[in-house]
Symmetry: C4
Subunit: 378 residues, 4 copies
């Protein structure tokens, strides 16, 4: 059993588009040659036995897309507005922490790909490079993902830095208080390597001394869950900034209904890529009920298992305005840096356009539930 991850075992990223990549998803296969095994286990794994991570993928197989004939889509496009931002296409780069795990220049490469492809990138609180550097490399569309910090001053510090750096929105993550590498990553001997530090948090204050657990206290309830964000935290945040705030990590229609009136600009349907509660349903399974629980034009993003433009099409048809791509972003980054990420997005966008064209949809508004039919499982 490996006891430490060995960053030097993988070949350097390519500086060209790999010719064998023909579909966006091909980066997933190819990445196995570019990411050291323990790190790959960490990236690819979810939590526990990867049940939810697997469900995220297989959920897409439950739906087929219905082709139409004789529809004129020559004026077609993939443009959309999200929180007053006009985007060329609905494929966003999800916030992914610690990108130095797979590429030395980490989020800088991702940001360059975002700019090159007119994509909206969401920088993580736990990025390997400072948010200001990411902002400089990224194009006009960039948001900042925020984890609440133990001290509000530190949280506020991140918000101000994000505003200053020009991020156009905040994405506050609510679903990741408890998190651990998957059993698969643990068995592969994964440990976060020393070069992967959270660059944004270098200057954070020391966390306050928490009262020690008392006999009979639970390490979960009275321990870790003390750090969970509360409604008060959310309200406080919304009062601190004029940036639009997205809420990430909603999987329950009841939560969605309440949060839609919280002042947030939109919700991100997500189970954190299956990295938190192993045994949670797939994001796609919960999407229709969440769409039905919020006002009809209320912005919803989707995150969880997207590997192709067809997947994006299905999520949009089931109620998402746009989708976020996490793991595939990392895979493409590992293979060919900015070039890889940009190529992956270009392929996925064309795959989405092809799905729309087949389905006779000239715009994303036309991508609706009646474009799908439940797949016949045999």
């Amino acid at each position: 059993m490996r006891t430490e991850s060995a960053p030097l075992q993988s070949p350097a990223p390519l500086d060209l588009i790999p010719p064998q990549v023909r579909a966006a998803q091909d980066y997933e296969t190819l990445a196995t040659d570019f990411i050291e095994p323990a790190r790959l286990a960490y990236v690819a794994g979810g939590a526990g036995h990867d049940q939810t991570a697997s469900a995220n993928r297989s959920a897409f197989s439950a739906w087929s897309m219905l082709p139409r004939v004789l529809r004129d889509v020559t004026a077609g496009h993939t443009r959309l507005s999200l929180a007053n931002e006009n985007l060329a296409h609905p494929i966003l780069l999800a916030p992914v922490a610690h990108q130095r795990l797979v590429h030395a220049r980490a989020e800088i490469e991702t940001a360059r790909a975002a700019e090159a492809t007119q994509s909206c990138m969401v920088a993580s609180t736990l990025s390997s490079v400072a948010l200001e550097d990411i902002a400089r490399a990224a194009g006009p569309h960039k948001w900042f993902q925020l984890y609440f910090q133990p001290q509000r001053a530190d949280t506020l510090g991140l918000v101000r830095r994000a505003e200053q750096a020009g991020f156009g929105a905040l994405v506050v993550t609510l679903d990741a208080t408890l998190q651990a590498p998957s059993l698969r990553a643990l068995r592969a001997g994964f440990r976060m390597p020393p070069e992967c530090v959270a660059a944004n948090l270098r200057d954070a204050s020391r966390p306050p001394e928490l009262p020690a657990l008392q006999p009979g206290d639970s390490r979960i309830f009275q321990g870790l869950m003390r750090g969970a964000p509360t409604l008060q935290d959310l309200e406080w945040l919304l009062a601190q900034t004029t940036l639009p705030v997205w809420i990430k990590g909603v999987l329950h229609a009841g939560d969605a209904a309440v949060l839609a009136t919280s002042g947030a600009c939109g919700l991100i349907v997500s189970n954190h890529g299956g990295r938190t509660l192993d045994g949670a349903p797939s994001s796609l399974q919960m999407l229709p009920a969440i769409r039905a629980a919020v006002p009809s034009r209320f912005p919803l993003l989707f995150d969880g298992g997207v590997r192709s433009g067809a997947d994006a099409f299905k999520a949009i048809a089931l109620g998402a305005d746009a989708v976020m791509v996490g793991r595939l972003q990392v895979y493409a980054l590992s293979v060919a840096g900015a070039l890889g990420v940009a190529h992956m997005i270009k392929l996925m966008r064309e795959e989405l356009e092809a799905s729309m064209a087949f389905a006779g949809c000239a715009t994303l508004e036309e991508v609706r539930a009646d474009c799908l039919t439940p797949a016949c499982m045999t």
Copy 2:
């Protein structure tokens, strides 16, 4: 990885009926010995990950056939009328492009098999031999499949040639604007070999100069989809010819309802063998809804995954008037040329007759939905 298809590696087709073939579907297995691997990957593959091509096959497993007892079927037959053509049986040879990929004499052999078995053959616009030659070899029942050409004059040229050559109907394909070999074929290194030219299109005019894509234009929407057939194209075509016109590539009940009043003589329920939109439902899954959406006697053909007379029985029970056989035609052609194709049809027809006899159906009219029951999936 192979980088080119090597046509000479396969043994020559047999000049006898292979004794190990006992069911029509056996030609599928046997063909692996007669078709060079990259070409086989191209023929067998659908689009993308072959999801729809697989679904076409597995959809048949969702239905069981109900045997009856004490029914007198000694006057039974498989005759039917389609677009004023009286056919001996409902198994048609689907239009398949580039048959030289698997046999040097290509469609000539297929046509001879059609004549020998009283089958209706549909010649493809993209046939390896000229439509006039096919027409001469085929029997009385032959239709011509038409792809709209970039220039209407070329389309009209094909129509006139087909009329002249004696084809009894046109089959216009609407669902194949976007198409690419499957990932499987790409990985096998498939390229269309030089001997596979579209013989019918040798004299076509050069396609008109299309305006170049503008910045921001989509290669899909503003590029490839410019070539998609429109309702105007269809209406124009119907006005040019007195031949009956079948519309091929319908998978949506809404489209079917509209097209049933378009002047076409019938529709062909098809997803192009899974070669266009990977992720489309199986043809069989959509067939009942399409049958319900068109007038009760409106002619419907079925295409997608038929490998046996039992498959044909199920498609007819679910609403088709007749079925088309694509890949199995190619497999039989590769194995034993005209003899193979004729033998395959003979077997499939007997399998259909046996299914009818078991189900107590003396005629195709008696093959209805109540002859089937949903299979219990365990």
Copy 3:
């Protein structure tokens, strides 16, 4: 590929109960050591791709049995009356042709096992030994299975011999006009060996000259199906004998409803072990609808996939009065002759009794649909 079955390759049957057999179904595994491969392929296979033969087995997995507590079953028994015959238990030996394929003394051994276990045996028209010899070896409960012969005189001859020999009922098979070995048996090179002759038919008259097929005639409809039994044949038969007549091979509720008023003493729900129409549903799937279609006390036997007492319990719970065991009978015969068959029945009966005891059923009447619950398929 084998071209002929080689009867001498298998070890002689044991003359003791094999110690490794702990459940009736174990004979199925063990038989692979005692039956020559091509013959085994013939016995084990159904028709075509064995879809229906497989479905017969898997259908039992769709149901679970519900255990009860505190039920007094110490007066429990498995007795039942069928067509005025009082049986000790509801496990019948199905008619199986050509038993010499697996044991030199063939049906004589089976008959001895029937007597030893107080089982009702159904001798096949196509038995390897004469019906009179079977009758002498069998116990008091014996029925004769009748295939209509090309000439009514021959059919009548069989009926009279069966009456004479003391068979207590006739089982007329209606579902096997078309039949062929499975592809699996064909591929294994199975041919009926010369020692397997239909002993009962040695003296049958030569079949009448049938008019040859005309051009355009179908080998199925105008050929083989001429031999299919008609309602007139059935009525004729019922008029010829005072023996109770069971009708075997019913799978459709509509047929069952009609036949229940035909004068037959009962029906046998069966798809001929999947040996006729490959693609027919499992017998178990159709059983509840057939039970509902006939009068509530009308006798129904069940045949198809029974390998254990639990299977018998499920079939009885879903509406059968008793079950017939086909393949497992042959397997046990091949392993240890009469001893094997008797042991198999003894085990199956005890398995049935254990299922009844768990379910709190003291008699077969108490074995009803509410003893089962649909299995949760995950």
Copy 4:
């Protein structure tokens, strides 16, 4: 084939917590190194073909857990009251017979783990060490599982000894009259080794001479089932003791409804770990109907397939007040004795707490059916 179990082949249990165990369920995998194969086959197997044992596990996959956001669970706990006993958590050690099969000190180790983790342990009638010794080692929460003995005096003797030893409740098992090792254990050559004697029964009177079976009697109905507990037995027991009495082995809602009014303090939904009727449904499948059939606050325990805190969460959400852990207890015992069992419980409890925290449940009362959603099976 092994013909005898060889107790000395397995390594001695560890005296430390194995570092590779990260989830409670990991003890299942690790145990394969610590339990001799034939014994492992006996422990792991159910009855027959292990259908029910497998169903117990797979049933949990039919449900997903719904995470919530912004719920305050910092006052969370897992406390509950059961039959007037206040427990720190709802994970009980199920009664497991013959623990010497996997550890020389057997139930003494288990009892020590129960005390260390404030768990309620249920000692088996068939324990390898005397109930008095178990009672001394266990903590304050201990119940005694009772099998009715052939002689009431012996049953009463066990009750009195249990009362004397300080057990706080009785658990009377009703579902295990018929039991045999699984085919898997039989094939592995398992036999109960001589060191595994039922310590509590050493002094039991000789069973009374039962009248021999008469010809025609059934070994099941007139034999084994004579020993099955009756309603009179239960009523008699309830009259003999003032201890609370749990009834174990209920799987049918109708039985549950009746037994809820019998005077028992609660029911244990169980199929005996799949060790009795192979083909019975999973415990989890039947739990909701049983919950619905008894008064809303009537205590229900759950037993069958629990391997993780998430499993416990699901069973509680579907109506159980607490869960019992059987096989995993044995696995942990085999690996590291008391330390292993205590570690397993600690992990499972934290897993349960984490599931509750994710689902926003601060107490077990909040763990209800709306915390789950049917898993999308693809």
